[in-house]
Symmetry: C2
Subunit: 412 residues, 2 copies
């Protein structure tokens, strides 16, 4: 059960002119499950992406990186069930065969196709079943296919994740719609499990490349469920140029509003992943400020967000503050710049309650106040490092029996 | 229930001439529990220690570091229940009061006392109760007190950890006995939760300083339960010089054998901590070889050993190899030198079964072989990075429902 998250209804997801989505059951790993999604883009669409930095990155990620070297992407194909990661050269062959088959079907070139896979690592991709499913996915293509596609890309997700916005007016009016999947093996580094956002605005390629990085950095790169960076993380931003808005540079009228909206959609999707984190019962925002750099603030946020001791304490609604302090204290493992952190200057709040300062528990702290702030399903930890003006947020969830259950059962 | 570990019997722990141990119930946090241990050292004993690198390190750790600046340590005092960490200046006062009280009792100077605390972080140390308990601990002092002391320093441990050896003969004969505690918040960095090893050999101070670091590096610094570096990690090596052995330099006859035995005792204690890891049902050795440096091998070992996905798969006895590969792939998060890891050269074995090579699953791998190797309570993962001649081991345990239960319940 996700924490305070409901999938938007189909009619809350605005179609994006130039984007059609179709899903089908290809039987990739299990029968009777929609596991194959085809996304067709209108000619002239621009695409930019960021991908996992895991060294064992999946074959489709290699292919995506290669195909994004030039413009002209016209289709995306996404399968669940098998991640096609840790599959060596045969995996690369399968990913290329997938692109070939999509290209033939849509009468485009193979390098105009981006392939994505998610599911079990190290299993061979049953490419013949995937290819056999493609005509069905093509037949299902429609502009209002976001809702179905968001469901078809799920694996251990308990809810589909999608978000949509309309911004601007007149010449800057545009729609932005996105979807994402992911619940476990979530600690994206430069990207997320699978995230797709499309807009009908026209966006110059360099601007789009910059925006996809910035949006990832403000959203997917700020979340963690279990600290495990996936082999398949991919986040793709599509601008079809079929609407009225046209952004040539960061100075174009309406760009700031557009950019803010794209980041808001990305963040909504990223936070939805955490709200649906495997076994999650609590949604936790770790807001770190007063750092010398944004990086060291994130290092502290991740130290807290990854600590199994902190996460189990949140599961128990136990204000076990010492575990938070301990995590702050060893955060220099994540960023050596923190090795000289002066703990006497660190302040920690749970919700609005000051819990620690001067190297220890705040004099004003009362256990009942701490207990009160731990009760709700959404909790905010605020940390002031007291040594600079930078800040960063990390979003995470608690660690429950169900996390163990899900991950001890999954695959077997 | 620890994995294949039984506390040695009292008569398996050799007394160390010059060391007397006494325990008592001081009611530090709960009544009717032996929670205070006093260790008295004969004059002329030499002591060396390594301590946590957590920036929120405990008050007693600060005091230990200061007191070890000069020689002449004559007593150690250890309380459980309260860690006296995250307690600011009042915590320092309590730690110093503890030393003062021990000094008065034993007619020594306060800076000849090393204080240690373990338990809940951020709670004030009830120093008056500790001080009131000291005469009882003193009255209980005896040379064969190791077994009782190993029990008295436990917190969430389910078994006491101790180890003992006799090595050498004639002029190099000596006894080495040690004890340790710890089950959660275990990812020592330069030291462990609490570990104490004493020998009746005489060891020159510089040699002892070097040995304590080396022994920590080969034992406590190779284990992880949950990746949480404690605020109180301390590992102390004591040489009383009351036996016949006398080591003035690394060239002294018998030194190599003695050193090997000290490291063996340290490793036995460190491994006992993992075998008793919170909720552990499996004991896992991650042996990484073929690295360019020992550090990058440890980085890979820790990436695997910390991954909640790997650990839950071990709990389920599920050979979910993809999770291991994914962890190897993001190990560069721990050591940037691994950013150029060529995954096609990486080989992975579960037990004696080759499971991955050439960037994917080994052609010879059969699922039933993987399943067979996952069954026993002790499992070895071997990773060959294929790029150098260095190696390192990391010892860890699985992640079970009981880890969550223990840490969601502890303290509340």
């Amino acid at each position: 059960m996700p924490v305070n998250y409901v999938t938007p209804a189909a009619d809350q997801l605005f179609p994006v002119a130039g984007v059609r989505l179709g899903v089908t059951e290809a039987g990739i790993r299990k029968a009777n499950r929609r596991d194959l999604t085809l996304i067709e883009l209108a000619p002239g669409s621009r695409v930019a992406g960021v991908f996992t930095k895991n060294r064992f990155c999946a074959a489709p990620v290699h292919v995506c990186r290669a195909h994004l070297q030039k413009e002209g992407i016209r289709a995306l194909v996404i399968n669940t069930g098998v991640a096609n990661a840790g599959t060596g050269e045969p995996g690369m062959v399968s990913a290329r065969q997938t692109c070939d088959a999509v290209a033939q079907l849509l009468d485009i070139a193979a390098d105009q196709v981006l392939p994505f896979s998610t599911g079990v690592i190290l299993e061979p991709l049953p490419v013949e079943r995937l290819v056999a499913g493609l005509p069905g996915a093509r037949a299902a293509l429609k502009t209002d296919g976001w809702h179905e596609a968001a469901h078809a890309i799920m694996t251990t997700d308990t809810v589909a994740k999608a978000a949509s916005r309309k911004v601007g007016a007149g010449g800057t009016a545009c729609s932005i719609t996105g979807m994402a999947k992911g619940a476990g093996m979530i600690r994206p580094n430069m990207a997320t499990m699978l995230g797709f956002i499309a807009t009908d605005a026209a966006v110059a390629q360099p601007l789009l490349e910059q925006l996809v990085k910035e949006a990832a950095d403000e959203s997917f790169n700020c979340i963690t469920v279990d600290g495990d960076t996936s082999t398949n993380d991919s986040f793709v931003l599509i601008a079809t140029g079929r609407g009225s808005a046209k952004f040539e540079s960061a100075q174009t009228a309406g760009w700031a509003e557009f950019k803010t909206a794209v980041i808001a959609v990305a963040r909504e999707l990223a936070q939805a992943i955490v709200r649906d984190g495997e076994g999650a019962t609590k949604y936790i925002e770790v807001a770190v400020e007063g750092g010398r750099t944004r990086e060291e603030c994130k290092a502290v946020g991740y130290a807290i967000g990854h600590s199994p001791l902190v996460k189990t304490a949140f599961f128990a609604s136990d204000p076990n503050l010492g575990r938070i302090l301990a995590a702050i204290g060893y955060a220099w493992n994540n960023d050596p710049a923190l090795a000289d952190l002066d703990v006497d200057k660190v302040k920690v709040w749970l919700g609005d309650v000051l819990v620690a300062e001067n190297g220890g528990r705040a004099a004003s702290y009362r256990e009942e106040d701490g207990a009160r702030t731990m009760k709700p399903a959404e909790i905010r930890i605020r940390v002031d490092l007291g040594r600079g003006s930078h800040a960063a947020n990390v979003w995470t969830c608690d660690f429950s029996y169900d996390y163990v259950k899900i991950n001890a059962d999954y695959r077997s």
